[in-house]
Symmetry: C2
Subunit: 201 residues, 2 copies
Amino acid sequence: MRAAIVTFDGFNELDSFVALALLNRVPGWRAALCGPGGTVTSMNGVRVETQQGIEFIEQADAVLIGSGVRTRDIVWDTKLMARIRLDPARQIIGAQCSGALVLAKLGLLGDAPVCTDLTSKPWVMETGARVVDAPFHASGNVATAGGCMAAHYLAAWTIARGAGVEAARAVIDYVAPVSEKAETVARVIGVVTPFLGDGVE
Amino acid sequence: MRAAIVTFDGFNELDSFVALALLNRVPGWRAALCGPGGTVTSMNGVRVETQQGIEFIEQADAVLIGSGVRTRDIVWDTKLMARIRLDPARQIIGAQCSGALVLAKLGLLGDAPVCTDLTSKPWVMETGARVVDAPFHASGNVATAGGCMAAHYLAAWTIARGAGVEAARAVIDYVAPVSEKAETVARVIGVVTPFLGDGVE
C-alpha cells in the first residue's frame, strides 16, 4: 500500500505529519510526503524535502491532501491542479481542512456532506460544497476532516479502509497518550466506523 | 517568547511538529525546529532543514525535546549532550516520550514522577527515573509526556506556563476537531491544569 501525503508551500505541519506518521505505522504501508517541487516550506517556515513528486499521486493507493495557508491560491493554479490526478474508483482519497478546496475544485465532493475547518468554511462553501458541522465525513472512497486534530480521524479512516479496523485500532492505540489508550481508541474508531461501509471489518 | 523544538535524526514527526505548530499559534511566540546539523531526517525518512542550531537551546525561553528512534544512541554522545544546556530556573522545559532520556541524562528529572511512552519506559527506568502510568506530569518548570498524542498536553502546558491558561485554551480550541472543540479544550486543559502551580492563570 502506497500513500501520498500531498503538501504545498504554506502547508500546515499538523495535518501532513500526523497523516504521514500514522500511516507509516501500518505494516507494509509506505506513506510519502509529496509535492510539486523538491522542497516545500510549511506555514511556520520549516523547509522540508519532498519524498515524491506530484506525479506520485496518480500511482498511490491512498492520497491525503493536507491543509495550508496558500490553498486558495493553489486551486487557481490550473497547471498545478491538472497534475493532481485522482480516481475515487480505485484510490482512497482524503482532505484535511482547506484541502477540501482542492477536492471541490477537482469535482470530487459532489453533493456529499463536507468537513473543513472554520476558517476555510466560507471558501469551501463558495464552491457549492455542502459543509457540515462535524469533524469527519466520508462518502465511499472520499473523506474530509475539519480541525487540525481531526487529522487522527482521517488517518484512522484511511487505515481502516485500506487495512481493516483492527489495523487502525492498533495504530491509534500505539500513538494514544499513556493511560488513555482505551478511551482514545474508542473515540477515534467511534468517529470513523459509520463511514467504513459494507465489507470492511 | 522563543521556543526551541529539539530534534535529532530519527525524530518522531508527531512530537516535534505538534509542538511547533501549537506554540507558533501563540501571538508573539516563535517556536523553531532546532538540531545539531543543518538538516535532520525523521524516523520515516523525511529530511527537514533545522531553523536554529543546537546552541539556540541555551537562548530559548522554552525547550521541548521530542522523541525519536535514535534517542538511546544520542544520550551516549557526550559531545552532543554537552551542547544541550538547559536551566530549569529560567526555562520552561519539556520532553516527549524518549525525550525523557535526554532530561534524565542531564540530571533534570530528580525524584519527580516521569512520563514516557511504553517502548521507552524500560530505558528511562534504567536511569533511575520514577516512571508513572500517566500521559503528562510536570514538576515546576520541567514536564514530561508519554504517548505521541500527549504532545498536545505538553504544548498546552508550555503555553499555559508561558502565556497563561487562556492562551492555551485559545490554541487548543483553534486546532480541535470541528464540533468537538469544547470537549477537547476541557480534556486537554483538565490534564495540564494540576501542573501549573500557583500564580498561573
